[in-house]
Symmetry: C2
Subunit: 374 residues, 2 copies
Amino acid sequence: MAKEAAGRARPGRAPAPAGRRARPRQAEVARLAGVSQATVSLVLSGRDLATGRPISAETRAKVLDAAHSLGYVPDPAASRLAAARNNLLGVFSFTATFPTDVRHSYYPFLVGVEQEAAAQGYDLVLFTGSSTGGAGAGGGALSRVRLADGCLFLGRHAPADELRRLVADDFPVVHVGRRDEPEGLAWVGADYVSASREVVAALAGLGHRRVLLVREDDDAPASTDRERGFLDGLADSGLPAGSDAVYRSGDPRHDLTAERVRAWVAEGVTAFVAEETDTGAAWRALRAAVDAAGLDCPGEVSLALLGSPPADLADEPAPMGFDIPRPALGAEAVRLLASRIAGGPAEGTLVACAFRPGATAGPPPSPRTPHPSS
Amino acid sequence: MAKEAAGRARPGRAPAPAGRRARPRQAEVARLAGVSQATVSLVLSGRDLATGRPISAETRAKVLDAAHSLGYVPDPAASRLAAARNNLLGVFSFTATFPTDVRHSYYPFLVGVEQEAAAQGYDLVLFTGSSTGGAGAGGGALSRVRLADGCLFLGRHAPADELRRLVADDFPVVHVGRRDEPEGLAWVGADYVSASREVVAALAGLGHRRVLLVREDDDAPASTDRERGFLDGLADSGLPAGSDAVYRSGDPRHDLTAERVRAWVAEGVTAFVAEETDTGAAWRALRAAVDAAGLDCPGEVSLALLGSPPADLADEPAPMGFDIPRPALGAEAVRLLASRIAGGPAEGTLVACAFRPGATAGPPPSPRTPHPSS
DNA sequence: TTGTATGCGTTATCAT
DNA sequence: ATGATAACGCATACAA
């Protein structure tokens, strides 16, 4: 028996707000086309063609005509509910009220995300962590992300517990930019180790035998990775990779004096490598100290930066180093997320950085045999 | 009779992907709390308290406990489908990528949007117009917005037909930044007319009797409004508002020469007003011409800009003029949208601009009686 | 080749 | 004060 259609009070529904017309449903399309709603669904989703589902061309045409003339558009909420998917990818950035600091780093990333998402047939939805007022019913900010089929997370400020919650529910999630993730959380990151290694290899290739890394005194994974890559690079080239190859400075601006640089050079150091940080402090201090020491940069000493120069130094000659391929990172993140949605494993991926020859490195001033410090 | 519950193949569903745990539903919460699912819904939505619905405190506690221990979070898609609302506000910007970049002109606007949305208990979702790959099934880019309870549209590139479609379906929509909207489309805009009038009034108040508007030769509403405000301002102060009070230039950079400025000054013009455009061409040309004419700006001639100076001129002394209160615009747009969602009318709203005294206007060089040009 | 009957998770109405 | 139960719009296994 069909459900008791009319003649009965409609439960579950408030009366439609007066004056609010409803947009066409598949049911209306079906009625106009003289077919069933199920057929409409089949035709409109294209699943008949893709899977060789047998729908007559005539029926297809009728349905498509009807849908078009009614101006049918699918309801994404209903799609998601019924099919557990709506071809939407979420991007969650934990930037309080669209902050003014990190935005520079997110933008190029989003470019890659958008491109790859389009290529994979996904649309994007952006969430922010700032809105706290809303749907709050126990879900926190993260309940929104379930509107999408999966979600990308940007930035270090993602609340670990909420993220863990999503992972525990097996909601497809990919985190970008960190690597120390809880078990089961997929991530993509830049391969600082290999990139740093490459930089050292390039310096060694130019003839440098004593290379010094200047880094700040923190233990962020980004710093650690660079140092490891640096040391690996030294080892690769058979250069001394002792602890005196690395200079840790609590405050580069004060520690990195002209005298100290001159002393290093006197000891035989011919190339300096600085790590990249938010502020670019190490790099700035290094440049300043070399300048103050009266040393000619490509000529007397070579410099390299393990990353990209700060924006305000963009007009100076580019230092040797590497660039984080942010768009590529974004694209890779989307690929991984799509794979997760399709049931793939929660793996981590490293994306290679692009080596940048720059203009701050050249052969060491005079050919000389290495001075091992031991 | 209850539906034939189990013992029957589950239609309408693909088998759950292996290994994908499901997150808790209201049904589970209900089972754990020993109540019905409907009660769970009531308690969790707080509708029992709000509407004085009778739910015992004991039951409430049981339900809340169970929900919390299970980590229940509501499914926004299901909410939207069932209740036709999920406390989500969409923001659609017709730019290539998400406008999370501060340099982007949308950014200050979004700040206001976020604040007000939070204040109104809404969460935000950002859509972009660029992603074209996705859910395409007849809906175009705009089908996504129906995930939210309503949507804000930014920018002039909104496809009119799709917008019209949403309006025809009575989907709550507010457009920001234009005023020539199709019937039924709610909008908010800046009140250029009043703001321009105020600027003229300020100049007149300083003693200027001959004021000239320099505008570009287009007919954008933004330009038209400014000119009207300018002329109204002249009329208010009893100044001649003839056609020679406005100079339309096809190419300000070439037309606005030092000679011309000198000629105007010789005729008795003591203040120049430029309209603001994307490029700021009129303002730049005016400044340059005045400089070239060797005229001292606050001293010999006064200048004003009907808008904000371009970003690259931010370090120059601020010109007299007005600022578009973008955050306020955003907030107002959210208020209007919330009202629309609640069934309010599709009205248009003008937001007042903030007068900026600046440092480019002072009294005219020498007190003199007006020289009416007639 | 197409129609029928569920069901997704939630809200809201009615009967208890 | 609480429990059944019918939708919301769409997708899909299965019958016809």
